[in-house]
């Protein structure tokens, strides 16, 4: 047996896969019981009564065991360094969970009258005003359920504004070639088409921006969607000029707020000319990512766009009480049921309140410091197209590496990523925003020890590529499973257990 085979065997050889719940079913056994029915029965008419569903069940202890075993098979921020670029995987404070779980918050019905939920409405009103201040914009709507949902909502708001101002023909949205995939997808959902604006060295190409505006026709443009710092991890030094060009075309500047972690307390989007933006509270404001949600995507807009925000809006009355206002005649309507991701916003409130204004500024400073420290330590081994500290070119809160010299030795980017898993590090974002890149975002909550360990891991992998390349090519060697066959999964999708 080779060393590599021995490593695989030692790490996962005999470890059984966790059976599916459907394979654990025990007829007649369920994990919880019910009190006896305390009212007379009413017959269920034959026309509406259904047959039996086929959901499995088994005893309570095995339910606990099942999910405990599954949890053992997950990397997480709690357990691992998780530098997933553009996702801001920062620490999730447990005071946030504590607050959201209070019965006075968690048990409220969404259609209750305002006078029974004054505490909750106060929390939402305070969250709203705090997010307005951080954005430097006139008004926030808390309704969108996630970042992409916020993009959609804000674009609807902007389009409604133009329709109301006799410019319904503005149907083209400009987006950078490094934009999040959600940007163009959100445009499509708003019935707008997308034109791409080039970036050069991670910065918007101003000449190309002007060119595209000229080609499309200024009068046809809804907005330019920009991410700042860009998805390449760079502050756009020309942001003011970009805003001027966009406004000159009569269009609006939309900020994708995914990277707000680099701006908190340092720059306010409204101050550089953004007309509308969304937040991702699960990125910037420490609400847990939960294996893919819940997120929350509040949007902030200028005063001229505010009349079109969704309803209801949380307001404070003259007497200091709070209420949900529906009287916004130009509203785009509703983008989700009820009010907002309330439970997520409790956590968001707790985080912003814990940080305070100075803390928020320290968050962005430390996030940027941590990223630059990692970049500085790694840039000689992992080439970085946009990072050159000697010439004053720094990154923001994340950086991009295209490790070409390592790839040239006979490994793929995926090999490197999978080897990181062996070292207990969640791989960074890959192949985006540029091909063959890793995008690393350490966040501000990592300790220096954790950053140094990551540097050691990355240098170790580079060393292995030179000395024992099979270790990297055949990785992961020490995880529960070998590489998953994603091609067959997509070709012959099996989405349910039969």
């Amino acid at each position: 047996m080779t060393t590599i085979e021995a490593m695989k065997k030692q790490s996962r050889g005999d470890k059984p896969i966790e059976p599916l719940i459907f394979e654990k079913h025990v007829a007649g056994v369920i994990g919880v019981d019910f009190p006896p029915l305390d009212v007379p029965e009413t017959e269920v008419p034959e026309g509406v009564a259904g047959g039996s569903t086929t959901l499995p069940s088994f005893g309570q202890h095995d339910v606990m065991a099942h999910y405990t075993h599954l949890s053992d098979r997950n990397f997480s921020v709690d357990g691992n360094f998780y530098p997933l670029g553009s996702c801001t995987m920062k620490h999730n404070p447990r005071i946030n969970e504590w607050g959201a779980a209070l019965p006075g918050f968690a048990c409220l019905h969404p259609l209750q009258d305002d006078d029974t939920i004054q505490g909750a409405l106060r929390l939402l009103y305070e969250t709203r005003t705090m997010l307005e201040e951080i954005a430097g914009l006139h008004e926030v709507s808390l309704q969108p359920a996630a970042g992409a949902h916020g993009e959609f909502t804000a674009l609807k708001v902007i389009r409604a504004y133009f329709a109301d101002h006799g410019q319904p023909n503005r149907t083209v949205v400009l987006a950078a070639d490094t934009a999040h995939g959600t940007n163009p997808a959100s445009c499509t959902m708003c019935g707008a088409s997308v034109e791409t604006v080039r970036t050069v060295n991670g910065q918007t190409d101003l000449e190309h921006l002007k060119e595209v505006i000229a080609i499309v026709g200024a009068e046809n443009i809804v907005a330019f969607m920009i991410t700042n710092p860009s998805t390449a991890g760079l502050f756009d030094a020309n942001i003011k000029e970009i805003a001027d060009i966009v406004h000159e075309a009569g269009a609006k500047l939309y900020l994708d707020g995914a990277n707000m972690n680099a701006l908190l307390g340092r720059v306010r989007p409204g101050d550089f000319g953004a007309d509308a933006m969304h937040y991702n509270t699960h990125k910037t404001f420490s609400t847990p990512h939960g294996g893919g949600g819940p997120g929350s995507g509040p949007i902030a807009v200028t005063e001229e766009l505010a009349p079109y925000l969704p309803i209801p809006q949380v307001m404070m009355a003259d007497d200091g009480s709070f209420y949900l206002d529906r009287s916004r005649e130009k509203t785009i309507g509703k983008v989700r049921s009820f009010i907002c991701q309330f439970g997520v916003l409790v956590r968001c409130w707790a985080y912003i309140s814990a940080c305070g204004p100075k803390g928020l500024r320290n968050v962005s400073e430390t996030a940027v410091l941590n990223a630059n420290y990692l970049a500085a330590k790694l840039c000689t081994t992992y080439s970085m197209p946009f990072f050159d500290p000697k010439n004053g070119k720094f990154c923001a809160h994340e950086f991009v590496t295209v490790p070409q010299t390592l790839l040239d030795k006979g490994v793929t980017l995926i090999d490197i990523a999978k080897r990181m898993i062996d070292y207990g590090v969640h791989p960074p974002t890959m192949h985006w925003p540029i091909h063959d890149c890793l995008m690393v975002e350490p966040t501000e909550t990592e300790s220096k020890q954790a950053l140094d360990s990551f540097v050691d891991v990355m240098l170790q992998i580079a060393e292995e590529i030179s000395s024992e390349i099979e270790l990297v090519q055949q990785s992961p060697l020490e995880s529960d499973i070998a590489r998953a066959d994603e091609v067959t999964a997509a070709r012959k999708p099996i989405l349910t257990f039969k």
Partner: protein
């Protein structure tokens, strides 16, 4: 506390490694005229102890199902869920992970979502389900887009008896993409198949009917979808309550092609309306047009059964403007809660919950119907919710009950119901959590206020 962990010495070491003198150099790219150097105008930081006090204080100003008997429904229900869910969901391995892009580091979430998809498919009687959407309303909107994208047709028929907020969201979502909404008027509180038949044409992509509907009435899904299918490829879209599927005919059994619903009743707290989760299930033929995350079963290089995200070429991060939806972050943790709930209860447990809700709702309805002047608005079959016309001002009823610690239901004319009604109607929901004692107390209050 801002949760950073560096001391001054460490910061200096890091400055040295980067080659800077001060942190400001890292922000040099930001033009000075847009910097916010005066600081944000926010309240000063609170310590954790102060946060606990503030949060508890704000929570204490709220009253609801935790300290009142709740008969409110209309899309959000005060159902029981086992204590183990809160415990398991708090595990950081679930709570603090993200979308499982890296299969080798995320088998836990992936297997759980695969199990969830299977549970939802089985619960609805359909072939496939995705790994969740934002909520019931957005799931309905995505279902409509799934039907229009599949058929390339430009019209959907929508039951006027659907939740008014779902209709409102559908209007928002469809307003700029050139898809026409044709409303189906109700007859005796439900949609008659004849009404569907009258509106059917070969431009119709889907027929959307919610059952139980906003009034609590059980709709004739079979009849409506049969009419929908009079035009080939038109989708019957069932908007469903997952608990009702435990005892009533499922969407699949009634001929639905797509099912969309609010998943909150499956083990999720009321949370003032969110986070919840949208459920979306469909027949297999819709697989490649489904919005949202899908987890598939496959094998690893060593032949082991494993799970991974699949069909990602449908999704925004690969397909951009041509994606089937813009959804990225969904409601993973809520889906996990729902799955844990279904695993703990199984078919038998969910049937028990559904059956108890049925019996209790019918008991309460019979008791209220005995009161002078209280009449059921509609006489069709209902599940756990029914509508009464009050003999007096409904606001007076609600206020009186509230003052006695009871949330008696949802006023159909309430300003939150989007103009559903102008009458004095109360929509009353009963879950398995309500006791006979609480129901008898409500009846006494209704009797007293309308006397």
């Amino acid at each position: 506390m801002d949760y950073t962990q560096l001391n001054t010495t460490q910061r200096q070491e890091m400055y040295d490694a980067i080659g800077i003198q001060s942190i400001d150099e890292l922000f040099d790219a930001i033009p000075s005229e847009i910097r916010c150097d005066d600081g944000l105008d926010l309240m000063p930081a609170l310590s954790e102890l102060e946060l606990q006090r503030s949060l508890a204080e704000m929570a204490s100003h709220n009253h609801g199902p935790h300290d009142m008997a709740c008969f409110m429904g209309c899309g959000a229900y005060d159902h029981f869920y086992p204590a183990l869910i809160d415990q398991l969901i708090s595990r950081g391995e679930f709570l603090t992970s993200y979308t499982p892009y890296q299969a080798e580091a995320s088998q836990g979430s992936l297997q759980a979502f695969f199990e969830f998809q299977t549970q939802i498919a089985r619960l609805t009687g359909l072939d496939i389900a995705n790994a969740s959407l934002y909520d019931g309303a957005t799931a309905v909107a995505e279902a409509a887009l799934l039907a229009t994208n599949t058929t390339r047709r430009k019209e959907v028929l929508v039951a006027s008896t659907m939740h008014p907020e779902y209709i409102a969201v559908l209007r928002t979502v469809l307003s700029d993409v050139d898809i026409k909404i044709t409303m189906l008027d109700a007859t005796d509180g439900i949609i008659s198949p004849a009404t569907v038949e009258a509106k059917m044409s070969d431009t119709v992509a889907g027929v959307i009917v919610q059952s139980p509907n906003i009034w609590g009435q059980i709709e004739d899904w079979d009849g409506c979808f049969e009419k929908a299918h009079s035009v080939p490829k038109t989708a019957g879209i069932a908007v469903f309550n997952p608990i009702a599927c435990g005892m009533l005919k499922t969407p699949g059994a009634c001929g639905a092609d797509i099912a969309a619903g609010e998943g909150q009743p499956l083990g999720n707290a009321l949370n003032l309306g969110g986070p919840y989760l949208g459920l979306l299930a469909a027949k297999e033929s819709y697989t490649r047009k489904m919005p949202g995350r899908l987890v598939g079963m496959t094998t690893d290089e060593e032949g082991r059964r494993v799970f991974c995200l699949t069909l990602q070429t449908r999704e925004q991060h690969i397909r951009g403007a041509k994606a089937t939806s813009n959804v990225c972050t969904n409601q993973g943790l809520m889906a996990l809660r729902a799955s844990m709930f279904m695993t703990t209860l199984g078919s038998d447990g969910i049937k028990e919950m559904a059956t108890q809700s049925w019996h209790k709702a019918h008991y309460l309805a019979k008791e209220i119907a005995k009161l002078k002047g209280w009449e059921m608005k509609y006489n069709g079959d209902f599940f756990n919710e029914c509508t009464f016309t009050c003999p007096c001002d409904v606001t007076k009823v609600v206020e009186f009950c509230k003052s006695r610690g009871v949330l008696p239901g949802v006023a159909a004319a309430g300003r939150r119901m989007q103009g559903l009604s102008t009458g004095d109607e109360l929509i009353i929901a009963v879950t398995e959590k309500r006791t006979k004692h609480e129901m008898d107390a409500l009846v006494a209050l209704l009797s007293e206020v309308s006397a």
